[in-house]
Amino acid sequence: MPEFLKEPLEASPPPGQRADPRQLAVRCRGLRKVYDGRVEAVRGLDLEIPQGECFGLLGPNGAGKTTTIEILEGLLRPTSGEVEVLGERWGRRDHELRQRLGISLQETRLSEKLTVRETIRLFRSFYRRGLDPDATLEMVSLGSKARAQVGKLSGGQRQRLAVACALVGDPDLLFLDEPTTGLDPQSRRQLWEVIRDFGKRGRTVLLTTHYMDEAERLCNRVAIIDRGEIIALGSPAELISSLGGEHVIEFAVQSKGSSMGEPNGREAPAPGALIPAIKELRSVRAARADGSGISLTVEKPHLAIPALLEALQAHGLEIARLATRHASLEDVFVNLTGRHLRDEGNGSN
């Protein structure tokens, strides 16, 4: 190993509250990206992210999240629109700006022939100041893999190494494009802790995800993107409360007396046919058909469920399946678009 890479690298000053929420970490106006003159991936997006915030771009695959984040990262040129990152525009002092950014791409590919330690040291060397490479590896639980070749790491380990490479420059603004996709639950939680710790030091995080729970747990605010446009913006709690109720009741019905697979000769009505009546029930804020069942957004489940059972009995129906849960950002998305995030295709832009 070359001598200069063995020398201790200059560590960052002790973490402090560097963020000034009055300053914007990211600002974009009228952002638009058209591929090949035909496919409009981003359609006039406006966004303002104050410093110190953990902001999530949430949406299904193909919604335009990656295109947006890559434009903000300075890796893609927008077709039109303005972008400012940490008060700078791309194309002026890019090198200086990149010194303050940490970027983990959707599929950060690292040279498979280098070892984990060689890789993290290489990335650290690009920055004038930053974290200790070995300590950063420990942070993402890869300390024991320091001597392993990147090509021999599992998918989850590579993903964690990619995040470590984004963190090692101790950036003011961290871009994470779907950081936990493909990770096992334990690795996801580990990575969430790393991101939370980073945010606690007053740094800004912009992440994209299609995991609702991830956005809810990590982000101060989220923008839900669909087909290149922001369709909702706010804190997870605000967006969920915009549904009018914080609880969801999901149920299916069957004719009275029949059991699953044993019809008693009378067909249960289609879910859609029941909605007008159910919508009027006590504490119900919204109702929609969801596959073979019905999904209700309710304010107080303890009031709504008895009312629901009573109404079904009056129609000669009974519950075949019933579940209650807290409303999530998924419900917000479904409410706004009529589609589930998980129904979308696998393509990504």
Partner: protein, 276 residues
């Protein structure tokens, strides 16, 4: 441009080359061929009484003409297109490194790796020759080594340029093979054919031949080893008469242009295309 970043990319490239199986295979083949050729060249030593280095240097020239361009072209062709295809180029571009630093670092790293291969091959050959035939005429051998490195850089630069222009590694490698065939085989035939068909003057033949870096290299090495170009016929004699002592610097300048021009072109193409 930050020299430290260029150096970092250079080191990364050399580390990767060291662990690359294709690269190691090339190095071994080259070393094997140079050593084998040296042994064959030395087999007539007793009969003719010719010192080892002088005799084998000439035979190594043909090997260099065939193998080194292929090595340079392949190394260059795999470089940018390979990283683009694997997605590692975009990762690199997302760091505080400017495209010029990446290009120069990668080129210099590959140049270092190429030099390593050439030195390994010639080093083994030199050891064999020195053991059996002594160290006489080693100067000529060293001239061939130096010229070979410059010659390798020409094709590395061309391969690099093809790599920047190609989205896929397979395309870059395919184009590299075409360049190799064109420079090493078709140009010789084309030169002979054109000389006969167009009844070219010695001047015309000379200028036509120095368009091809392989011919320039051949002229340079033969001139350096033999002190004249009579073996190359009227074109060679004309070159000696017209340029005299200025011929070698001129030929070196041509080779340098063949290195620099594709690199400049690569720079503009890379700025335009980026990691896509």
């Amino acid at each position: 441009m930050d020299r430290a970043n260029v150096f970092l990319v250079l080191l990364k490239e050399m580390r990767e080359a060291r662990k690359n199986r294709w690269f190691l295979l090339f190095a071994l083949i080259f070393a094997g061929l140079t050593t084998a050729l040296s042994l064959v060249g030395l087999s007539g030593l007793g009969t003719f009484g010719i010192a080892g280095f002088g005799r084998t240097t000439a035979s190594l020239l043909n090997l260099v003409l065939l193998v080194v361009p292929l090595m340079g072209l392949f190394m260059g062709a795999f470089s940018i297109a390979g990283e683009r295809e694997q997605g590692t180029l975009l990762t690199l571009l997302a760091q505080p490194v400017v495209p010029e630093e990446i290009l120069l670092g990668k080129f210099l790293g590959l140049a270092g790796a190429l030099l390593g291969t050439i030195l390994l091959g010639f080093g083994l050959a030199a050891a064999v020759i020195a053991y059996y035939g002594g160290a006489a005429q080693i100067g000529e051998f060293l001239i061939l080594v130096a010229c070979t490195f410059v010659f390798g850089l020409v094709f590395l630069s061309l391969g690099f340029c093809l790599s920047v222009l190609s989205r896929r590694t397979a395309t870059a490698v395919g184009l590299a093979l075409l360049v190799w065939l064109g420079a090493l085989f078709l140009s010789d035939l084309g030169l002979i054919g054109a000389s006969v068909a167009l009844q070219l003057t010695p001047r015309g033949t000379l200028w036509l031949s120095i368009v091809n870096p392989a011919q320039v290299f051949k002229l340079l090495v033969i001139d350096a080893l033999q002190g004249n170009l009579e073996a190359l016929g009227p074109g060679g004699i004309y070159a000696m008469e017209v340029f005299g002592r200025g011929l070698r610097p001129l030929l070196l300048l041509f080779l340098a242009l063949w290195i620099v021009v594709p690199l400049i072109f690569s720079h503009f193409a890379f700025r335009r295309r980026g990691g896509a």
